[in-house]
Amino acid sequence: RPTFAIQKSYVVYLGVHSHGPEVSSIDFDQVTESHYDFLGSFLGRKKAKDVVFYSYTRHINGFAATLEEEEAAEIAKHPKVVSVFLNKRRKLH
């Protein structure tokens, strides 16, 4: 590994939640914890907590995190993952 690997921000999209639409804030915390757990299985839980900057907990299942390219590619192969994509800039029209 290079000493200074290039980090970029990505969205990891996991589809829908297993919880239904009526959930409490405690459940939202559980979802976030599950995102840390999932990413932690690749990076270690401590690093996972450090790099996740969004945990989508309501209807969209996924998170946004700062990752190295190789990490993003590895995560994309996981069967629970729909897609991993760069956090790109969109334009106002």
Partner: protein
């Protein structure tokens, strides 16, 4: 919006008839419209809660003030949130204005007020376009989701969608987009998918990358994608030359030249500063003009593909008394009325060539720019804006995009008071309303109409609402000729989709092409997503149908991008009107034969569904090598349920 709703026949010179969808749909009462954009200027009168009742009990949103304690929501603007972590991850530290839903840019206030702003009498831009500003659903509740600060980033957009769905919006207006990425690598497509699964209608702008083909964005079939066209209002300002030639441009300049006094005219390339290139000077870029050459003259600048408005500032800084802004061929042919800081007129490419020819061939060229006027009932209207992005759809060519067109040129709506009307730092003027152009402006017109349809038909699915809007659209302008491009050529469904929106017709479409979430899952199966992937976003186990075909996806438009010999496509229509018999009428695309079976459909009750088949055959091998266009209309004599047909032979 001081004119657009009149142009869309919701009112007639300010009078709202009892047959208007506004009256029938109680001006969008009970509907909640969310907007993913640059936030909101809550002090705008467009968001006044006068005469609004209590906030609907279903609303779960909040008014997130962030670092701005003065930010207030009310019974009209019932929610606001901001999302900036995705921006911070890329752009780094940002200024404090991003820690608030306050719109310091203007775009979000403009789009949200176009969709659901309240009535505000006496709205104008420096006296131009005076009238009553209002949204399409003026009595709807609105909520702002600020996802754009220093750009609009996927991670923030997705967060905005997640919360908007949770909060309980009925309609989401999304005037942003980007490259045509695969649907599940595109935050707007993903967010829209989840929204539509929850019964929320999502309206997106088609993009401003026209007039080239295959430039349209927001391509998913669960989105309503909106192109931009003109309304019947212009702000003409004439450029009169010393050789008696005169050209009609447009402008919203507040300053005017002294009456009937001609001024020396100079091309910007001839006014270049010593250290500047003629190319940069021609575009009137900052620091490229020599004030000694410009002072006291009218400067002719080329528009180029960069921002228009700052050129006026550069001309003024260099001492010009006026500016003629000429289109280059790359920028299309439309002319936009902008609130320039000096007397100015924006003219089209052909006229620009004539002005440059005059400047280059005359020893002492002279010109005069007339003060702009507000002109109504202009003809032809609508015509397509050159900037409006066009099909075909580069991800799924079987789905026609854009779906529809709506007014998106010189739209006057609420604006921020944190910025000047030209969005330039040096513009110290402040306006309550501003004139802006883009598919960003046409998108919320459709969002407002969707708000009305939601109030009127709360049980209609997002697909049924889209179908009603598309099948009731018109493809002729106000001189009853086919809608044209800004180059005066006949426009095609690649520009306008099903046509120009007609809200009063959309409320009673007769039949709809409906779609369920399962239809969208089937669509994804047909695109090649495997069952394991689909299970991840389907909530329950889902088996792809073996006979799934994109051709049979029950979309209100019919597109066959590779017709090899013949194809039979199936569609199902649902009766949402009254009992009756509908007969098929086909306008055949050149070189294609079409048959419809059965040729008539009898409906005895509301909610009844009937299926028909449309067989398309290549008639002449060479005739349809490029896209050709036709249409299918089902009519019971009262309703006209129109679908564009777009075909290309393989």
């Amino acid at each position: 919006t001081t004119r657009s709703w009149d142009f869309l026949r919701l009112e007639d010179d300010g009078v709202i008839h009892s047959s208007s969808i506004w009256k029938k749909a109680r001006f969008g009462e009970d509907t909640i419209i969310g907007n993913l954009d640059t936030g909101v200027w809550p002090r705008s009168k467009s968001f006044s809660d006068e005469e609004m009742g209590p906030i609907p009990s279903k609303w779960k949103g909040i008014c997130q003030k962030g670092g701005d304690a003065s930010f207030r929501c009310n019974r009209k603007l019932i929610g606001a949130r901001y999302f900036n972590k995705g921006s911070a991850a890329i752009a780094g530290p940002f200024n404090s204005s991003y820690d608030s839903p306050l719109d310091t840019e203007g775009h979000g206030s403009h789009t949200l007020s176009t969709a659901g702003g309240n009535f505000v009498a006496g709205a104008n831009v420096f006296g131009f376009g005076n009238g009553t500003a209002k949204g399409g659903s003026p009595k709807a509740r609105v909520a702002a989701y600020k996802v754009c600060g220093s750009g609009c980033f996927d991670a923030d957009i997705l967060a905005g969608f997640d919360f908007a769905i949770h909060d309980g919006v009925d309609v989401l207006s999304v005037s942003l987009g980007g490259d045509a990425d695969p649907f599940f690598k595109d935050s707007v497509a993903i967010g829209s998918f989840h929204a539509v699964k929850n019964g929320i209608v999502v309206i997106c702008s088609a993009g401003n990358s026209g007039p080239d083909d295959a430039t349209v964005s927001n391509l998913a079939p669960w989105q309503i994608t909106v192109g931009a066209s003109t309304m019947d209002r212009q702000f003409p300002s004439y450029v009169n030359l010393g050789n008696k030639m005169s050209f009609q441009g447009e402008s919203l300049s507040t300053k005017a030249l002294p009456p009937n006094k001609f001024f020396p005219l100079i091309g910007a390339a001839h006014a270049k500063a010593a250290n500047a290139s003629a190319e940069d000077a021609l575009l009137c870029k900052a620091g490229t003009l020599d004030p000694r050459k410009v002072k006291g003259k009218i400067l002719v600048c080329l528009r180029g593909i960069t921002a228009r408005v700052d050129k006026g500032q550069q001309a003024a800084l260099a001492g010009a008394v006026g500016m003629v802004l000429a289109n280059n061929d790359l920028s299309g042919n439309e002319i936009i009325a902008d609130p320039h800081v000096l007397p100015a007129s924006h003219i089209n490419y052909a006229d620009g060539v004539a002005v440059f020819n005059y400047v280059n061939s005359t020893r002492s060229p002279m010109a005069y720019i007339t003060r702009p006027k507000t002109q109504l009932n202009t003809k032809p209207a609508p015509f397509m804006a050159a900037f409006s992005s066009k099909g075909p759809n580069t991800i799924t060519p079987e789905i026609l995009k854009p779906d529809i067109t709506a007014p998106g040129v010189s739209v006057i709506a609420a604006y921020t008071e944190a910025q000047g009307p030209t969005d330039e730092d040096f513009d110290n003027r402040r306006v309550l309303f501003n004139s802006v152009s883009g598919t960003s402006m046409s998108c919320p017109h459709v969002s407002g109409i969707v708000g009305l349809l939601k109030t009127l038909h709360p049980n209609w699915s997002p697909a049924a609402i889209r179908s009603a809007i598309m099948t009731s659209a018109r493809t002729r302008d106000n001189v009853v000729e086919p809608i044209t491009t800004s180059f005066y050529k006949k426009a095609t469904p690649f520009s306008y989709g099903a046509g120009h929106v007609q809200p009063n017709r959309a409320m009673d479409p007769g039949l709809v092409y409906d779609l369920t979430v399962n239809d969208y899952l089937n669509f994804l199966c047909a695109l090649g997503y495997n069952q394991t992937q689909i299970a991840l976003f389907s909530e329950r186990p889902y088996t792809c149908s073996k006979h799934t075909s994109l051709a049979n996806f029950n979309y209100p438009s019919i597109t066959v991008p590779k017709l090899n010999g013949s194809i039979t496509v199936t569609r199902t229509v649902k009766n949402v009107g009254s009992p009756g018999t509908y007969r098929a009428h086909v306008k055949k695309p050149a070189g294609i034969s079409i048959s419809v079976k059965p040729g008539s459909l009898k409906f005895e009750k509301i909610g009844e569904e009937k299926t028909f088949k449309l067989t398309l055959k290549v008639k002449e091998a060479n005739a349809a090598r490029d896209y050709v266009f036709g249409g299918l209309t089902w009519s019971d004599g009262k309703h006209y349920v129109r679908s564009p047909i777009v075909v290309k032979a393989a």
